[in-house]
């Protein structure tokens, strides 16, 4: 019964196939261009994909990627964009209340932080 290694390999292959079904696509790639998501990605230095952050060091401003996409389309390239929601950040992981504590401690809401 020397089969465990093979079983493990089968499991890995299955997971990989599942991932391939939702392969991450860069919103600034000409073939997967998503205008809104690309603008956000360039400004943020990355994008969310299915709730996970992917840091991308875009080396050009947004118009560069847009022009590249337009050239690609005009030369007959096919664009298959991911739905915009795929690039939205996971709202469940947002932490709030990280600003404001000092003001509350000083004034307890009785007066503000301006002067």
């Amino acid at each position: 019964m020397r089969k465990p290694a093979r079983v493990t390999l089968t499991v890995v292959a299955t997971v990989a196939l599942a991932s391939c079904g939702r392969k991450r696509v860069d919103p600034c790639d000409a073939a997967t261009f998503n205008e809104t998501a690309c603008q956000e990605a360039v400004r943020s230095g990355g994008y969310y994909w299915d709730g996970s952050w992917h840091s991308i060091g875009y080396s050009h401003p947004y118009p560069y990627y847009y022009d590249h996409y337009r050239t690609y389309v005009s030369s007959g390239g096919t664009v298959i964009s991911a739905p915009g929601a795929t690039y939205s950040h996971p709202s469940g992981s947002v932490v709030r209340g990280g600003f404001g504590a000092t003001g509350e401690a000083h004034g307890g809401g009785a007066h503000g932080a301006g002067e």
Partner: protein, 376 residues
């Protein structure tokens, strides 16, 4: 400069509320139009010149602090230094500030302090006292182009604001809320998209600061002191996030009373300055002890021979500075402080207007009253 008593408008509460000042009275009135201050045109010219010169002097002082790494003297934490220095170099948008000046109408105005990070009493100075002037003395003038200047500056800053949008946040407080609501209105008048929300509702998703609607915050005007922000939980994320903050982090140098002795070291015996020192009053006979990071007149000691006056509060743990007591005209029975506003940083053209607050004690606090002004 003269203080003149007068009859308030019969419907003054309604008039100031119509102008946006929904909080005008507490235990006593805050907006006080039973008097006004009258200036001559020559006095206004002098105040404008002084404000523009102080603006340049404070910018030079900031450069001096940065060049000489005086951060420890100002109790600025090391983690804030890269924020200050990078924002100073990058020159991100900066909106406004208010020099608080002691002025007796005889001697040159003296700088009491500079509030350039979170100044308030803006709506009163920019709008409410202007409507008062139109109602009561329509043929007189007022040192006041604050409103127009702020709108013009927003337009100028628009290319720096992603998606032509600016979000405003403050503590959930009526006074601060009035200020950010007014600024939000000026931004909208300049063509920007704007919203406002309490600063506690800002979120962090691991990469970006988010608004209450989970939208990434690209540019935020925050009416909340930098010295608090950098010490709070989200302070660690400021450097890595892409958010543009107005006022910028370098304004931390101006919300710190340590600016005053630095100015005195750079410009000793300057006519617009009061002698000021770190650590001790030196040879001064009458002085005011101020916390480095104090606010709203809290924890101030006014020392005169055989007489001390102190205010309460919970500031001062970071240390104090000592500043000479400003000369005051005691004949009028109150202590006026002129709040001289700057909008932008254009050399020689930053001064934008003025508001007067007066107190029955030598220390201006959040209980002081706003009194309108005019000039001939």
């Amino acid at each position: 400069m003269r203080r003149i008593t007068c009859e308030p408008r019969t419907n003054w509460e309604q008039r100031v509320e119509e102008a946006g000042l929904i909080w005008h009275s507490g235990d006593q009135v805050y907006w006080n139009e039973s008097a006004f201050y009258e200036f001559t045109a020559k006095e206004i010219d002098m105040l404008e010149v002084a404000t523009n010169e102080l603006e340049q002097m404070t910018l030079a002082a900031a450069q001096h602090i940065i060049d000489n790494h005086l951060y420890t003297r100002l109790a600025i934490p090391p983690s804030a230094v890269p924020l200050i220095e990078s924002s100073w170099e990058a020159e991100p948008p900066s909106l406004y500030g208010r020099f608080d000046l002691a002025y007796d109408g005889v001697n040159p105005p003296k700088l009491l302090e500079y509030n350039a990070d979170t100044p308030t009493s803006l709506l009163e100075a920019a709008v409410v006292q202007w409507y008062w002037l139109q109602d009561v003395f329509p043929k007189k003038d007022q040192f006041n182009s604050i409103h127009e200047r702020i709108i013009a500056l927003w337009k100028e800053l628009t290319p720096c604001l992603p998606f032509s949008r600016i979000d405003f946040c403050s503590m959930d407080d009526i006074e601060d809320g009035m200020t950010v609501t007014y600024l939000q209105d000026t931004a909208r008048q300049a063509g920007l998209t704007a919203s406002a929300f309490p600063i506690a509702e800002i979120g962090w998703d691991g990469h970006n600061f988010l608004g209450p609607d989970n939208r990434v915050l690209r540019a935020v005007f925050k009416l909340y002191p930098w010295e608090w922000m950098v010490r709070e939980e989200f302070g660690q994320h400021i450097a890595s996030a892409s958010t543009i903050w107005i006022e910028p982090p370098w304004k931390m140098l101006f919300s710190n009373k340590g600016l005053l002795p630095v100015l005195w070291e750079l410009y000793p015996r300057h006519p617009y300055l009061l002698e000021a020192h770190f650590d001790s009053p030196g040879l001064m006979m009458s002085w005011v002890k101020k916390p480095l990071l104090g606010r709203e007149g809290a924890n101030i000691t006014v020392h005169q021979p055989e007489h001390d006056f102190q205010t309460e509060g919970d500031y001062g743990s970071e240390g104090f500075i000592y500043q000479a007591l400003a000369p005051v005209d005691r004949s009028i029975g109150v202590y006026p402080v002129l709040g001289s506003w700057v909008v932008g940083h254009e050399e020689g053209n930053a001064a934008a207007g003025m508001g007067v607050r007066e107190s029955v004690t030598p220390v201006t606090t959040n209980m002081s009253q706003f009194v309108p002004h005019l000039f001939e």
